[in-house]
Structures are given as structure tokens and as C-alpha cells.
Amino acid sequence: MNARPALRGGLRVDSHKARPLEQPIATLPPPAFAVLALDQGSGEPAQAIVTPGTPVRVGTPIAIGRGAAADLHSPVSGTVSAVESRPTVAGTGPCVVVANDGGNERDSGLAPLDWITLDPAVLVERLASGGLAGLGGAAFPTAGKLALARAAGVEWLLVNGAECEPWICCDDALMRERAAEVVLGTRVLRAACGAARATIALEDDKPEARAVLASALAASGDDRIELVVLPAVYPLGAEGLLIAAVTGREVPRGALPPEVGVLCQNVGTAAGVARLVTEGLPLLSRVVTVTGGGVRRPMNLEARIGTPVADLVAACGGYDELRPPVRLVAGGSLTGRALASDAVAVTKGLNCVLVATAADLPGRGAEMPCIRCGDCATTCPIGLLPQQLHRAAMADDAAALERFGLADCIECGCCDYVCPSGIPLTARFHAARERQQLHEAGRRRAAEAKQRYERHRRRLDEQVEAERRAFEEARRRARGDGAGGA
């Protein structure tokens, strides 16, 4: 490796991953009712193709993805009982509810793939119809990313096993137990995107996973895949930062990794791809870390998509009455989002349920004024100046926000963590971003309205002009007739 540090800034936070990793991944039985949010975490809903009463089997497609949404399949067999709005990880949104008949019957259309001889374009199509999505949290359709990567001609596939949030360890557990699947998935993804080489990256706090992966790699005999170990610094698992650390290439603002010749995929996604190839199964389940001081037995669970979070907590021994949880968080303690209740269901993007007690969350006193100490700028992994951004956000100064690079902020929360004044910087930046988007949308609407108004005016003017001409024509003709008659 070169002497360049893997990450500028960042945090070294206490890890809380040991307890869930003491036990192997437990498989949760399918839920009685699977609640499948049409938005699986990417922010864009898929289009439901079933109605209440439709019989489905395990793996039957129930929603078709568009844009940033992947296809969705029924994780259980039974009947669709409702298509309605329900609380979801992202808030509230349309969901397909499938009542489980307990039969666990597989859809007949599922067959393993011969990926080695398959044309890469067809392979990408099959991955799309398998509903594969980024299991790192963003839930962006894998096939969409692969198609982009193929079009851009990427030469480097990066498989992200860096899990830097202090509580999440589902990828670690997965790599330890299913290294062969991760390696197979990596080979398939490499073939599908056409990259010449592939790298599986993970941090130095996962020696077990590293050892297992290394032997699985040796067993596969694929010499185009290498293993890279990086220091365990938060937030090195963020796509752009990992790409910079491994390849030394920086993804420019507003660009996607394929533009610098790299495609990044999560290890969980790779394992999902392996399942699709070997068993023909679409993405029906994922590994979720259920952890935190408020749950009795923290562990990693393999749960079907659509399983209520309450089932997950119950499988871990339930809530601990002695240490009452104060908040349920989807994701880690640094970037996670609070869940409204434990009635929400597992999505493709849900990597962790943190049943947090007051002691688990980074404490934050009353907000004090910024003393311009600059700690936030030192820790910012992107190299922004959060204190300046904060001033601009408070003043709602769009030009300054743009100048100080709000668009580059990855909302990792490092600045919040180190701020001695307890300023909720990331939340402010997020809100500023939303305001900007709202403003942009208003601008677009106004521009469109203006165009329509101009067309409207022109049309009315033309109508008036046409009427005037018709009137004059009629008058001229009447005069002409009068002259002819005389």
C-alpha cells in the first residue's frame, strides 16, 4: 500500500460489535404477514402489480421497479391481503401486505443461472428481475448500477465489506459465514459489469472475516479478485471514500463512480447475487443486526424482507425491562434514522435495528453557540468547512451553501460527534438541502408555468388576429359585392 492515509479526518469510535458476533446468524421463520414497502429504501417506490386477493408464492414478483426502485418479490406464499399505506422505515408509504399460508411454496419460474456462459447483458437483466438492490443501505437497484457501469466501461469492481458504523455488523457476520457466496457473487458481478479486476475491501478490525474470505478466494481460483484491508476509521465504508482509499481515484462532485472507472457493490449484495445464480432465488431476505443495550440478546438475524421489526426484537429475547430503550434506530448510531414504531417491516436497505438506551446514543447537551474551534473541519472526511456551512445554513444563504460545498456533504455525522457546542450540524445541513430542493422545484415549476403562459398568450393573440382578419375579409367582400351590384 502507499503511504497516503486511507482517510483524511474521520473518527475512531468505540465498536459495539462483539456481542451480536458471539453467535452465528440465526434464520427467522417467515412472518405471518409480510409487509413489503414499495419504497425499499432508495426513496422511489416500485409499481405494485398485485391487488388484494392475488395468490402468490415465494419469489412471485409483486412490484415492478422503475428508476431507483428495484423489482420486489413475495417472500412468502399465500395471498395478497392489502395494498395500502402503512408506517415504513422511511416514514409512511404504500405497502403490499401478503398473508402467509405457511406453505412456503416456491414460484415455478425460479431456476439457477449458468452465469459463466450467459451473455453479460442477459445476466444484468436476470439480476434486475431478481430484485437485487444495494444491501449496504441505499437499496439502489444492482442491475441499474451494472448497466451504467457496462455503458461507462468500468475496469474495477469494488466490493464493499467496510462496515464502519459502531453498531452494525451484519456484513461482518455474513463474510464470516458465507465467504464462498460473497466470492461467487463477486465473480458474477465482475463478469456482469465487464471489469478486469475486482477488489473486496474490509477493515482491519475484522480478522476472522478476512481469514475466511482469503481461503474462499484461494478455493475459487479466480486470480482477478484481491482482498484489501483498510484501517477501521469511520466513515470509510461510504462509497466515495472507499473508492478513494482503495483506488486513489476521486469521484467528482455530481458524478457517479463509473465515471472514474469503478463500480461499488456491497458484500451482502454479492451474496444475494450468488443465491440468485445458484438457487434461482430472487432477493427475499437479508441479514439484519439487532443490537443495542435495550435488547436482551443482540444478534444477527437472517429475516425475510417484510418481517416486522417487532418479530426481530422478539427473536432476540425482547426488550430489556431493566434498561428501557429510548429509541429504535434504523441503521447505526451515527447515520441511522429513528423508527416510528416496531411495526415497520424489514426492507432491502435495513441493515441494523438499534434498540438504543440513553447511554447508547452519542450524548448531546444543550446547543451552545459555535466557538469556531475548527474541530469539525479537522474531522470532516470530505474536507469541508462545517462551521462555515452552518453559518450559511442558518442564514439560508444559497450562494454560500453552494460555495462551501453543501452538495459534497455525505451527512456522516462526524462534525456533530466532535462539536464541543453540541450543534446538530448534520441535521441542519440535511434541512438546508431539503429547502434547496424545494426551492429548485419551485424554480422549475415557475419556468414551466412561464413557458405555458407565453404559449397561452401567443395563442390568444393569434385568435384575436385571426378573428380581426376574418372580419375585415368579410367586410371587404361585402363592399365588393355592393360595388358589383351597383
Binding site: 395500502e84 415549476r445 415557475a446 419556468a447 408555468a449 412561464k450 405555458r452 403562459y453 404559449r455 397561452h456
Partner: protein, 182 residues
């Protein structure tokens, strides 16, 4: 000191004055602020609802009036405080809140035609400045919610008062819910 020694100095000073004056005059006419581009920039900040609440027949005429210095920056209720502030910043004037005489700022709304009561008179069609109403004589009309700017200009021509303004984004959802329940 006699006149002969003074004369060149006076001559040079006078010559300079004439030359610089001519240069400044030519530059002033050449580099005059383009009034059209100012109107464009003001117009770009307006919400383009074409509602006429500013007492001008549309956003562009209001922009022209602001550029002429005839109207203040406080006459646009749909734009609200953000627009008033942006206009004041652009023009270097003191920001002033929207004058309540011209209307009050409300959250975005869109027109909704009660289709059961619409008689298909087509009077609201030409009234809509952004052509957001679909319909024909003797056929029911409907508003394209995504195009409607909520300007209220379709309300006065409607003879049966079947058009109402509802909060933007809600009618479609409530209608979905009612059909799902039915």
C-alpha cells in the same frame, strides 16, 4: 507671471476636460445597464403564477414596473417573503415584507373542479394563464394539478362556482382513498 506661460497649462487642462468628457459620455451610452436583462432577472425570481395580485397583468409586466422603479418589491403574495427578499437583494433595496394590501401568502394551492357540478361551459379555459384546464364545450372540465399555479383566475368566470382551491398535493390522494374505500 505673464499670459504666455499660463496659456499652455490652460490649454492642456481644457483639452483634457473635453477629451475625458467625450470619453465618459461615449462610455455611458455604450455601457448602459440593459433594461431588458434587468427585467429578465427580476422576472426569473417571480413565481410565474400570472395571478395579477400585484395589480399588473402578469409577472412580466410587474417585473417591468419594478425595473422602471414604479413598483416596490412587496407586491407578490404567492412568492412570499423569499421572493420579496430575493428581489430586494437583486435590486439593492431595503427588503420589505409582502404588503397585505396585495394579498396574503398561503401554502401552495391548486384549483379543483367539482366535476359533478361542472356544466361544460368552457369559460374557465381561456381564463387559465397556463392552460392547466382540460375540457371542451359541453364536456366536463378538469384541472391538471401538476400544472396549476393556484392563481385563482378561473374562479370569477365560472357561472356555477364549481371550482375550489385545495392544498396542493392532497386532492389526488384523498380521491384515491375514497375510491379504495368504495
Amino acid at each position: 507671471m505673464n499670459g504666455a506661460t499660463l496659456l499652455p497649462a490652460v490649454g492642456v487642462a481644457a483639452g483634457l476636460a473635453v477629451a475625458l468628457g467625450a470619453a465618459l459620455g461615449w462610455l455611458a451610452s455604450r455601457l448602459r445597464a440593459d433594461p431588458d436583462s434587468l427585467v429578465e432577472r427580476i422576472d426569473a425570481l417571480l413565481p410565474q403564477t400570472q395571478c395579477g395580485q400585484c395589480r399588473y397583468p402578469g409577472c412580466r409586466p410587474y417585473a417591468e414596473a419594478i425595473a422602471r422603479g414604479e413598483a416596490g418589491t412587496d407586491r407578490c403574495p404567492p412568492g412570499g417573503e423569499a421572493t420579496a427578499r430575493a428581489l430586494a437583494t437583486l435590486l439593492g433595496r431595503e427588503p420589505r415584507p409582502v404588503d397585505p394590501r396585495y394579498g396574503t401568502t398561503s401554502p401552495p394551492r391548486v384549483a379543483l373542479i367539482d366535476e359533478a357540478r361542472c356544466i361544460g361551459c368552457a369559460l374557465c379555459l381561456p381564463a387559465c394563464p397556463v392552460d392547466a384546464i382540460v375540457g371542451a364545450p359541453r364536456f366536463m372540465h378538469t384541472v391538471i394539478a401538476s400544472q396549476c399555479t393556484g392563481c385563482e383566475l378561473c374562479l370569477p368566470p365560472c357561472p356555477v362556482d364549481c371550482i375550489a382551491l385545495v392544498p396542493a398535493g392532497e386532492p389526488a390522494r384523498s380521491r384515491d382513498a375514497s375510491t379504495a374505500a368504495a
